[in-house]
Symmetry: C2
Subunit: 238 residues, 2 copies
DNA sequence: CATTCGATCAATCAGGAATTGGTTAGACCA
DNA sequence: TGGTCTAACCAATTCCTGATTGATCGAATG
């Protein structure tokens, strides 16, 4: 309990370098890391162990390199593995990715969602999707159309009946909007009356309604590919 | 500009209920919502419009039900669509989902990641995966094995070379750990020397190395199915 | 009976003070 | 000359306090 941890402070200079590391290891071993993985601040610790801060920091650096602890300014020093960066942070994700990646990710994720939707959709889900289609046809501005288009895609995701997957979709969607926000949209005036997307949306909804797994997946993939092709020609929307 | 908005305050009592709503609508219409979608606090607003707070809140409730504005305690009242809840919030996701959903989501996402990895992995990625396999074989405790198992799966995700997809994987992974944390792990003592997972991991890595898209996807799916089957029998790990 | 007003609550935000790992410069010693 | 210690400062983070703000309840009011 009150084992001497600072009593080695007067060891020979030649061994002092080892001493700091050894004492630190002893201190960690003696500590109940499960209860509180946090180490005392450096200024306290170097005082407790009777070593200078520089030497303590050298020892800490060794243990950090070994992966036994991790440090962060303002937070402290902790025993254990460094927690993975909070990748859920939208702004971080948005800053690391690019429109091409977003499109590729949509092409991977959304057909999969459509397939799950075909398997699990309730009648309410299908009704919601139908509503989105009607509204998107009635849209008078491009903004409104976009809005209902987004609603449709989310309705499909919701129909997959998997809250976690829906959460991932929402994250993707948020990132997509964050990424695309910086870009200008040249032809905002066009309300886009016919639009090939209508038929594609219709096909997806019908496939989901008919429990046609492959059809729903394929329909979504073709729809997104068509969108991707369109924005390759003129780089506006995503 | 200084159009009268509070001048209707002395209208007949019979119309006062409408008055609050009408005045509120007028106020919002007159406001430049794009510049600042935030409405003044209720206490100010009901004073400006010359209506009681209760009546104002009724009107606000109507407009909120119509989807024209959204409110939140401590934040204020805002014109426009309610921003979708920060679904990146791990704790929220974790509280809404369950182990079964997590497993199903893994079964959907990770084979897809393995396929992408087979397409895009660099030699460094493959080296990293191999390292994880060696370390997981050398593991002396189950905890260590779990650790390197996680590392392997993340290495695969990283090999997909899509930062956004990697971010989604990390989110899924974090949620998984959060969900599984509440559960007890009965046989922590077993270090698990042979373990069928070794061969499965090996097959995945080899398929990725050989650019065998279907093989990588299939291998990952089979591996996860085997894990799922195992924890169906005894409900410990995820 | 409905409305209004006041008080209170809980969530949120804003600001500053304190904490903490990281860094640098100078003193000190061998 | 080279290494070490000390002090000070920096930047990121946390903690605390007070003020805002929507939500809610109760008494007064008419």
């Amino acid at each position: 309990m009150d084992k001497p941890i600072a009593d080695f402070g007067d060891s020979t200079d030649r061994q002092s370098a080892h001493s700091a590391l050894t004492q630190l290891r002893a201190f960690i071993a003696q500590k109940d890391v499960d209860a509180d993985p946090r180490l005392p601040p450096e200024r306290e610790l170097c005082d407790s162990l009777g070593v200078s801060r520089g030497e303590l920091r050298k020892a800490l650096a060794v243990l950090e390199a070994e992966g036994h602890l991790w440090r962060h300014v303002g937070k402290g020093t902790f025993v254990g593995q460094r927690p993975l960066e909070d990748s859920a942070d939208i702004s971080t994700l948005a800053s690391q990715t690019n429109p091409s990646e977003v499109m590729r990710t949509r092409l991977l994720l959304e057909p999969l969602l459509a397939r799950e939707a075909a398997m699990n959709a309730t009648s309410g889900d299908i009704e919601e999707m139908r509503l989105c289609l009607r509204r998107s046809r009635q849209a008078e501005t491009w903004r409104q159309y976009e809005n209902w288009d987004n609603h449709f895609h989310r309705a499909v995701a919701q129909a997959a009946r998997n809250t976690l997957l829906l959460g991932l979709f929402d994250t993707l969607n948020t990132v997509r909007r964050a990424v695309v926000w910086g870009r200008l949209r040249p032809n905002l005036k066009a309300p886009s009356p016919d639009h090939h997307s209508f038929a594609e949306h219709e096909a997806i909804a019908t496939a989901i309604e008919n429990r046609d797994l492959d059809g729903a997946s394929r329909g979504m993939r073709q729809h997104l590919e068509s969108v991707a092709r369109k924005l390759e020609n003129r780089g506006d929307e995503l």
